[in-house]
């Protein structure tokens, strides 16, 4: 078990990524009760946006100087697409039966994936992404890559900023009000359309941060990377209690750590040899989800049973 600290760290990094993407699912669901299945693709376009900036910068510029520009570029692409999707695809369907926006989201997801596949230069197979120099750093018995540090740092900063924003700012309180009851919030003078757009924009920004971090960590991005990541992040959001931003981050971390530990330790349990290893990690992640939902149907930090879902 002396690899436990390293495996926990592996899970922590993976989980931070899931958590960052899960924020987008949970915020949008909390406010408009829409599961935005195109969110995984918003994460993907964020990564491609960052890469497009990097390839167009002079090669003499160091990666550290390029990093803020890449973040701005990726965030711009993601936020524009997320807000555009809300304005053009979801808002017209806001009072439609619940299935209509859901199908639209799936269609949008396919369209975005194919758009990148067709029109981004050479995106038909994996694209190489620059990686941060330096590392690995040894902290006790744990090895940490510089890409991991960026990811963890970004996740912590984003999460703190979001927490303060939602709790203390005027807009944040308006968001909470809209989540509780959109009609009453409107009567109280909250511009709910503006709040919804802000929710999509924040989700898009977080997805872009995750996309950039993913590229830096793995050194490769693909046009279809959003599908699996989106599915995992959605699971994380449900696990943590959909609608709750802290729940999304917690759900992501739990999911990431569960996957890492399942890969490493399930095979050591007597009689379970054939159920261990990387191939079964996702199965165990979903077993965990089912168990949690059986005991706490509202998710880990969910405050109320989803009465409108």
């Amino acid at each position: 078990m002396h690899t436990l600290p390293q495996q926990l760290a592996n899970g922590l990094f993976l989980g931070s990524m899931y958590g960052l993407i899960a924020i987008g699912y949970t915020m949008v669901y909390g406010i408009v009760q829409l599961i935005n299945f195109a969110h995984g693709e918003i994460y993907m376009t964020g990564a491609f946006g960052a890469l497009a900036i990097y390839t167009n910068l002079p090669s003499s510029l160091s990666i550290w100087a390029a990093l803020p520009l890449m973040l701005i570029g990726g965030a711009l692409v993601s936020v524009v697409i997320a807000v555009g999707a809300e304005r053009l695809a979801y808002r017209p369907l806001r009072n439609a039966p619940r299935l209509a926006p859901l199908i639209t989201a799936i269609g949008l997801s396919l369209a975005l994936q194919q758009a990148v596949f067709n029109w981004y230069p050479d995106a038909k197979s994996g694209k190489r992404f620059p990686q941060l120099p330096g590392g690995p750093f040894h902290i006790g018995s744990v090895d940490v890559q510089s890409g991991d540090l960026f990811l963890l740092g970004a996740a912590v900063i984003c999460m703190l900023a979001l927490g303060i924003f939602v709790r203390s700012s005027r807009t944040g309180r308006a968001m909470q009000a809209t989540a509780q009851d959109p009609d009453t919030a409107k009567l109280m003078g909250v511009d709910t359309n503006r709040i919804i757009i802000i929710a999509f924009a924040i989700g898009g920004f977080f997805a872009a941060v995750a996309g950039l971090a993913s590229g830096l960590k793995y050194g490769q991005i693909q046009y279809n990377m959003g599908f699996q990541a989106g599915l995992k992040a959605f699971t994380a959001a449900v696990l943590g209690g959909i609608g709750n931003i802290y729940g999304a981050m917690l759900g992501g971390l739990v999911l990431g750590i569960a996957e890492a530990c399942a890969t490493a330790y399930i095979a050591n349990v007597p009689g379970m040899e054939q159920f261990g290893g990387g191939a079964w990690a996702q199965v165990w992640a979903f077993v965990l989800l089912i168990v949690v939902l059986l005991v706490r149907p509202q998710g880990l930090l969910g405050e109320r049973v989803a009465d409108r879902a």
Binding site: H2, T3, Q6, Q7, N10, G11, F13, L14, A89, P92, L93, N95, A96, A100, I103, T104, G107, L108, L110, A111, Q114, A115, F117, N118, K124, S125, G126, R128, G135, P136, D143, Q145, S214, Y218, G219, Q220, Q222, Y223, N224, M225, Q228, E259, A260, C261, T263, A264, G277, G278, A279, A281, Q282
Partner: protein
């Protein structure tokens, strides 16, 4: 009213998405189709190509497509079969068995298609074999290496039965490749303890199993095993396991798409042991993606290095001068030879029928291909009673100075 317009919007979006999907796989292929037939009275014979042309494995898949393209262009230029213009019809299987089967059905239904070169993946081949068998249509794979495809599922116990008479391949099997790799690891590299990983696919799991068996038989120890999913990108948990197992090498059964990330993450975590794999990861893309981390890694591949073959020089020059995408190094030469085997068989069939293509040309072609016997650009081309190539050459490559360098070429015996 409002709802109706929204429904229309949704369906337009969905249709748009579907149309885009449909275009995606073909957009590139049609541009670089066969050369136009200029002679008006000539018969057009089409050779189907099935390989992953986009996404995972596409670097080596495109090598197959353009390998066949060059063979067909050469045959047309030299007028190898008088009165016939050859064309290719490339289909993208995305390395997915289900797509491969759809493509096989499409090729069979097109009456101009006489035979097919492909697919790249053994798992995809499994889903296509029956379709071609029912249609009596020849399929020659330049790259499938799983032994069961030609020798039946009980090949390991010595009872070999050929399941499909229309299936041939120019690559030798993993029974040879896995053993050759284990032999090199134990006897040349002096490795004692291997961590074996595979991707659960027909090819990867089969190859890793054969390597593991032989490695143990030769006195090596298996420090651990694990499986990954194709499409995974995070292997940190696996890397920690490998590190902790104190293995002195990693064997990976699978494709370059995952192994390049495994080796990268392995070396980044400070585990400087070589990763060895099969023909699925012998691709320039592996080195490009893994960069410095690839240094010292090994791969076995089928055949002798195509660069060392004098006959292949023109082929490589043509490939480069036309600026075709993909890696010709892995299967390009074998694809050229597979297509040439079909072209020669077409000639045999036509000669026997007074210079005309018979109405049951596909079925007659099966016999003609079985009797194939010529010197191709990648070695001698002939098939044994199972449809396997008689050319059992294998090569071990190692990444040295950012390039795959051949370190041992030979035949595995016993």
């Amino acid at each position: 009213m409002r709802h109706r317009s929204l429904l229309i919007l949704t369906s337009v979006l969905a249709t748009g998405a579907l149309t885009l999907t449909a275009c995606g796989s073909r957009s590139d292929d049609s541009k670089k189709g066969g050369s136009d037939s200029s002679g008006g009275s000539k018969t057009t014979v089409v050779i189907g190509v099935d390989a992953p042309l986009t996404g995972a494995n596409s670097a080596t898949g495109l090598g197959i497509q353009y390998g066949v393209q060059i063979a067909v262009d050469d045959a047309n230029a030299k007028n190898l079969v008088p009165g016939v213009t050859f064309k290719i019809k490339p289909l993208d299987d995305k390395a997915q068995p289900a797509t491969g089967q759809t493509n096989a059905t499409a090729l069979v239904q097109e009456k101009d298609v006489i035979a097919t070169v492909g697919p790249l993946n053994s798992g995809v081949a499994q889903s296509m074999q029956q379709v071609f068998e029912s249609a009596k249509m020849v399929e020659i794979s330049p790259s499938n290496t799983n032994p069961a495809l030609t020798q039946g599922k009980d090949w390991a116990t010595g009872t070999k039965t050929r399941p499909f008479t229309t299936y041939f391949r120019t690559a030798t099997t993993d029974a040879n490749q896995g053993n050759f790799a284990a032999d090199y690891a134990v006897n040349t590299l002096k490795k004692k303890s291997a961590f074996v990983v595979d991707d659960k696919q027909t090819y990867g799991a089969g190859l890793a199993g054969i390597f593991q068996g032989k490695f143990k038989e030769l006195g090596g120890q298996v420090a651990g095993t694990d499986h990954v999913n194709t499409g995974d990108t995070d292997f940190s948990a696996l890397v920690t396991k490998i590190k902790n197992s104190h293995a002195d090498m990693v064997y990976y059964g699978g494709q370059y798409d995952e192994s390049e990330l495994v080796t990268k993450q392995l070396k980044a975590a400070g585990v400087h042991i070589p990763l060895m794999g099969g023909d699925g990861m012998y691709s320039d893309t592996y080195i490009k993606t893994a960069g410095q981390a690839a240094e010292g890694d090994l791969a076995t591949s089928v055949g002798v290095p195509v660069e060392t073959l004098p006959a292949a020089k023109t082929f490589i020059d043509t490939y480069k001068s036309k600026g075709y995408p993909g890696d010709y190094g892995t299967y390009g030469g074998y694809s050229y030879d597979a297509a040439t085997a079909i072209i020669k068989a077409v000639k045999t069939v036509m000669d026997a029928n007074g210079g005309k293509l018979p109405s049951d040309a596909r079925a007659k072609l099966v016999d003609a291909v079985q009797k194939t016997d010529f010197d191709g650009i990648a070695g001698h081309v002939a098939f044994d009673q199972y449809g396997d190539t008689t050319n059992k050459q294998l090569t071990v490559y190692q990444v040295k100075g950012g390039k795959w360098t051949a370190v041992k070429t030979g035949v595995y015996n016993g």
